[in-house]
């Protein structure tokens, strides 16, 4: 499989170092989950990879092209944020069609494309609804449809189900897995929930406490014992949480 995303030596300092140095690469079609204790810089790392904010050091390339942190880039990158970030004054269809404008499609093409991806995300029949008229889970589905509609080289998801209740969360985890199997997109998924990562990811990357590095990279295919994997990851994350707290009190 071809390598598509290469993260090499990426670090970020605000007032203190948040991310020390992180390097990994992702093959096309992989579903990578980025795990780690709260506050270890998972979201920051995702934003750097998405070119939303610059790294202090290191580099990110996507399909061989460097990702620059000033928001001006010409690669196709879908992002699903923690919040849906839909425009409340546009219908779900219009929301998805909007992000297709820079791709140079005609208006009918954009709408057809939007409808196709809304159906893929399980929103058939809701295309003409305003976001305020549908549930939180459905709004996140629309945000996923929007990210997929641009046919991204890489789909970044930043704890997208954090605001959903437990039941909706499980449903959406299954849905994301189904959409991944159906589309074969490359996904980088940030979460702090171990069960979630084990349920959906093919590769799990565990970050250490702040300033973070990669603690462990685990392949999660059919061969592993999931219950044991969850236990191991829980032990790891508790160690990192303790180290982070210990570090901040000294």
């Amino acid at each position: 499989m071809a390598v598509t995303l290469v993260v090499s030596g990426v670090g970020k300092d605000y007032l203190i170092p948040i991310i020390e140095s992180v390097s990994f690469s992702v093959n096309a079609g992989e579903f990578v989950c980025l795990l780690g204790p709260n506050g270890c810089g998972k979201t920051t790392l995702l934003r750097i990879i998405g070119g939303i904010e610059p790294a202090t050091r290191g580099s990110v390339t996507l399909g061989g092209q460097p990702v620059v942190g000033d928001g001006r880039h010409d690669r196709r990158l879908g992002v699903v944020f923690q919040e849906d970030r839909l425009l409340p004054w546009m219908t779900l269809r219009e929301n998805v069609a909007l992000v297709l404008k820079p791709l140079g499609m005609t208006a009918p093409e954009r709408l057809a494309m939007a409808d196709r991806h809304l159906v893929l995300a399980g929103l058939r029949g809701f295309e003409g609804y305003y976001p305020s008229r549908v549930s939180g889970g459905m709004r996140q589905r629309a945000a996923i449809a929007r990210a997929l509609a641009i046919e991204p080289e890489l789909l970044l998801m930043d704890e997208p189900f954090g605001s959903l209740d437990a039941q909706n969360r499980r449903i959406m985890q299954k849905e994301v897995r189904r959409i991944w199997e159906q589309t074969g997109r490359t996904i980088l998924f940030v979460t702090h929930a171990i069960e979630e990562a084990v349920a959906i990811g093919t590769t799990l990357i565990m970050l250490s406490a702040r300033p973070s590095r990669i603690r462990e990279t685990i392949r999660n295919d059919g061969a592993v014992d999931r219950a044991k994997l969850i236990d191991d990851l829980n032990v790891m994350i508790m160690e990192e949480v303790e180290r982070q707290q210990g570090g901040s009190t000294t």
Partner: protein
């Protein structure tokens, strides 16, 4: 359920308000008996006066003249306010300058503009137009600038991620989120425009509701002063109910 329906109708017709109004009119009528037509004309005289200006068409002549001046002054203020909003969107530096200027304009008295416009424009249409413009500009513009400043940054970031151009972000994100601020500002601004332009019409022009009210006072026709005050109230209410409520409803369709 007839009782619920009756209450519903009572609310829609503002029945309690009408009841209170009946009391006020009755008191007014009793007082008018005591003080006479010069100080307080009777409700019946005012109603008759309203009928006569409606019948002669005089009401349209003066209301039209006032609305024309408001249209030019207030319309100009809205256009400039929109440009200020655009500048505030494009540059944070411009936003600061605009906000400071608006703060200064906001604390300037109506009378300052009336006197200055009389000096600059003399006895012409431009005196009330300029006064209206200067008074409504800060109200409308500060609303728009506040709206632009309150645009959700997370939505703009989403626009950046999906590589929307500045223009696409402006029309898809900034304009719709600023629109409620614009309508609120215009609503307040229009009310202010009507009140202010009428004051400015006392000086120097020979048409308009302000002029005719002052003229009525000079010829001791106090009941006509009340008639024109009533016309003003009706114009204001009509604008509120028809134009601004309609706009607000249209904007709220996605809520």
């Amino acid at each position: 359920m007839p009782s619920l329906r009756a209450r519903d109708w009572a609310a829609r017709l503002h029945l309690p308000t009408l009841g209170a109004l009946a009391v006020v009119v009755t008191v007014w009528w009793l007082l008018s008996l005591r003080y006479g037509a010069y100080v307080l004309p009777s409700p019946r005289a005012v109603l008759a006066g309203l009928g006569s200006v409606l019948a002669s068409g005089e009401v349209w002549w003066h209301t039209g003249a006032s609305l024309y001046r408001i249209g030019v002054g207030f319309g100009g203020a809205v256009v400039l306010a929109l440009l200020m909003g655009l500048a505030a969107f494009l540059s944070p530096l411009a936003r600061g300058v605009v906000q400071d200027f608006l703060a200064i304009l906001n604390s300037t008295s109506v009378f300052v503009w009336i006197v200055i416009s009389l000096i600059w424009f003399g006895l012409s249409n431009w005196a009330p137009i300029f006064t209206t413009f200067m008074i409504t500009l800060p109200v409308v513009a500060s609303n728009i600038v506040e709206g632009v400043a309150n645009v959700d940054r997370r939505l703009l970031e989403m626009g950046d991620v999906y590589r929307l151009s500045g223009r696409e972000k402006f029309t898809a994100i900034v304009v719709p989120s600023t629109l409620p601020y614009l309508v609120a500002g215009m609503k307040v601004g229009f009310g202010l425009a009507l009140k202010v332009s009428v004051v400015a019409e006392i000086f120097g022009v020979t048409t308009g509701i302000g002029y005719i009210m002052n003229y009525s006072r000079e010829i001791l026709a106090t009941h006509m002063v009340f008639v024109w005050a009533l016309v003003m109230i009706l114009v204001m209410t009509a604008a509120d109910k028809i134009v601004f409520d309609g706009l607000s409803r249209r904007m709220a369709r996605w809520r």
